[in-house]
């Protein structure tokens, strides 16, 4: 048995020694990535397909360059696609070594061109799981358990190459899967609202964000807006991630753009295909559009503010206008600077 990221005993030890105090965790995104994301790390990517993907964090990682990464996620789209694109363009600066995944594609927007490119050319190593498997692996990690049982996908070929173990249940004598916990080195999480200590209030589906944050050794959170701590703790039942599971919190409006951040902005149905088409062209041998995309939107900017400034305002207003999600709780005060 091998572990990627931390083993359960290492993860416990690491957390036991960690400073869990309630302190202001604001820091720049640049510093957060410098401090917490290392070459060779296992990164837990939060969100679901293209909703609340940690796009701002991933763009910053790409600007700084990180190598030999393992990416762990259930269903993701843009975040691993961006990292894959960076690897395709310059593997000496950014590279993915391995993915532990359930699904990488873009649902209505189409398949992932670069997953095809990287795997069909054997440039990365894969470990396939189901959505429930990856979710439950993060959950086991967040619970401090070395494994968690699961009934699916028993009978699937996934079990022939991944690390799941099938045993007979000692109580029912029927076979059951045991999934090893996942403890990424760093969780990359985007939420709508956080306070300066790192408490997060997620609107809409939680996906696997709390589990990933609590399973990982470190957690970087970007939020569309920072709110007053008192407004956060006024509704303690609505806090999705407690502050002591978070190491760095950065206010990055549109930090999940061009994906969906429930209650704030919908998928950008123009920009996602723009990026995906450049990836598809790369897969088919035309490198230029992808290089141009990165030069323009990632390497050519300092941060997400500059990235968003390159998108026509009307396009941004449109994704805000059509966002149909539950509006955020009325009770908050945006934190002044």
């Amino acid at each position: 048995m091998y572990w990627t990221g931390l083993s359960p005993d290492e993860a416990r030890q690491f957390l036991a020694n960690k400073d869990k105090s309630k302190r202001d965790k604001r820091i720049s995104l640049k510093e957060a990535v410098q401090k917490y994301v290392k070459d060779g790390d296992n990164l837990g990517i939060a969100g679901f397909v293209n909703a609340r993907q940690p796009i701002a964090i991933v763009h910053e990682i790409i600007r700084q360059g990180r190598k030999d990464l393992t990416l762990s996620f259930q269903s993701a789209g843009l975040a691993p696609e961006y990292l894959a694109g960076a690897m395709c363009l310059d593997p000496a600066k950014n590279s993915i070594k391995r993915m532990e995944l359930a699904y990488l594609a873009h649902e209505a927007f189409g398949i992932s061109p670069l997953l095809r490119y990287l795997t069909e050319n054997s440039l990365i190593e894969l470990e396939d799981w189901s959505n429930y498997n990856m979710s439950a692996r993060f959950k086991a990690g967040s619970m401090g358990l070395p494994f968690i049982p699961c009934r699916s996908p028993m009978g699937s070929d996934m079990l022939k190459t991944n690390r799941a173990v099938v045993q007979d249940c000692p109580f029912t004598n029927r076979p059951i899967m045991l999934l090893p916990a996942s403890h990424p080195n760093v969780a990359l999480v985007h939420v709508q609202e956080a306070d300066i200590y790192g408490n997060c209030r997620i609107q809409g589906p939680l996906f696997t964000c709390p589990e990933i944050a609590m399973a990982s050794a470190h957690t970087i959170v970007t939020c569309d807006r920072l709110i007053e701590h008192d407004d956060m703790t006024r509704y303690p039942n609505r806090i999705s991630i407690p502050y002591f599971a978070v190491d760095a919190v950065i206010e990055v409006p549109f930090g999940a753009y061009p994906g969906n951040s429930g209650g704030l902005y919908y998928y950008d149905e123009k920009h996602i295909p723009e990026f995906r088409n450049a990836c598809e062209k790369f897969r088919k041998g035309d490198r230029a559009p992808l290089q141009e995309y990165y030069d323009n939107y990632i390497f050519g900017v300092e941060n997400t503010t500059e990235f968003i400034n390159k998108i026509p305002l009307s396009q941004i207003q449109y994704v805000q206008k059509i966002e149909p999600g539950i509006r955020l709780d009325a009770a908050y005060t945006v934190l002044g600077s």
């Binding site: 594609a105 069909e120 429930y132 699937s156 809409g204």
Partner: protein, 268 residues
């Protein structure tokens, strides 16, 4: 006005067939794309009490804010009756709360096993597939743990194979008695296969795929010719009732007016 529509796409036919297969007041775990359209159509016709479940976390929402582009998007959450995350959705399913699940794949075998992971040689070629597909997502979990599954497929011979390259979502496995139970699964397995050409089920005894009905424009022969393995053809195969004018109107004007899913090429 005629009762039946005379102008519909294969995708619309699948949606109508999927919708009619659903039963009112049942809990239905919705995959992305056509299943969402089929569920909404059923809600607007015979099944107003159908309860949709989305793997990203939303349970029992009203689907009245536009067709979701993703099972994790905001449009799945309006007036939901429960809203946590992936673990809670799959735990509900494993527990037995989901009567039906809608799944698909790129490739299917006679026992309803589905492949949505890779084309190529497995396990030796796993790290260098001929074609890499998106992966399981939640389909394999739904296949194992929903009480019954409804499979949606494009009907082409290369997708219907006696042996598939990789079992992502288990059906009846090798078809042996109680194969699913013995493997440790919770749900009963595939109920219907709905394609662009036919409605199929599975033989109670052998668990092999059998033809139930041909869709408009198809015959038993044309369906068999489009299938890469031998189908069981019972005596009572019937011609499926074509989409009604009202069903097609609902799909085009109410449910998917932008044609996101029903006018596109069906995705693998």
């Amino acid at each position: 006005m005629a009762k039946y529509s005379e102008d519909f796409t294969p995708q619309e036919m699948i949606v109508v067939a999927g919708s009619r297969t659903l039963i009112d007041n049942k809990v239905v775990f919705a995959g992305t794309g056509l299943p969402m359209v089929a569920i909404t159509l059923a809600q607007l016709t015979h099944g107003p009490g159908i309860v949709p479940v989305f793997e990203a976390g939303a349970v029992g929402p009203e689907l009245s804010r536009g067709l979701p582009l993703s099972v994790g998007g905001s449009r799945t959450t309006y007036k939901a009756n429960y809203l946590l995350g992936l673990n809670s959705a799959f735990e509900l399913t494993q527990r037995g709360f989901c009567d039906f699940g809608f799944i698909g794949g790129a490739e299917i075998d006679p026992y309803g096993n589905l492949n949505s992971t890779m084309m190529g040689s497995f396990p030796d070629g796993y790290q260098k597939p001929k074609t890499r597909l998106p992966g399981s997502g939640g389909a394999s979990d739904m296949a194992c743990s929903c009480e019954r599954t409804i499979i949606i497929m494009v009907h082409e011979p290369r997708r219907f194979n006696e042996k598939i390259d990789y079992i992502t979502s288990p059906g009846y496995l090798d078809g042996s008695p109680n194969a699913r139970w013995r493997a440790g699964m919770a749900g009963q397995g595939p109920y219907r296969v709905i394609t662009t050409k036919a409605i199929m089920g599975f033989d109670d005894e052998t668990k092999r795929m059998k033809l139930i009905a041909t869709l408009p424009g198809e015959t038993v022969k044309s369906v068999q010719e489009a299938t890469g393995f031998e189908l069981i053809i019972p005596d009572d195969v019937y011609a499926f009732e074509p989409p009604t004018v009202e069903e097609i109107r609902l799909i085009r004007e109410v449910i998917d007016p932008k044609g996101y899913f029903v006018r596109k090429k069906i995705k693998e």
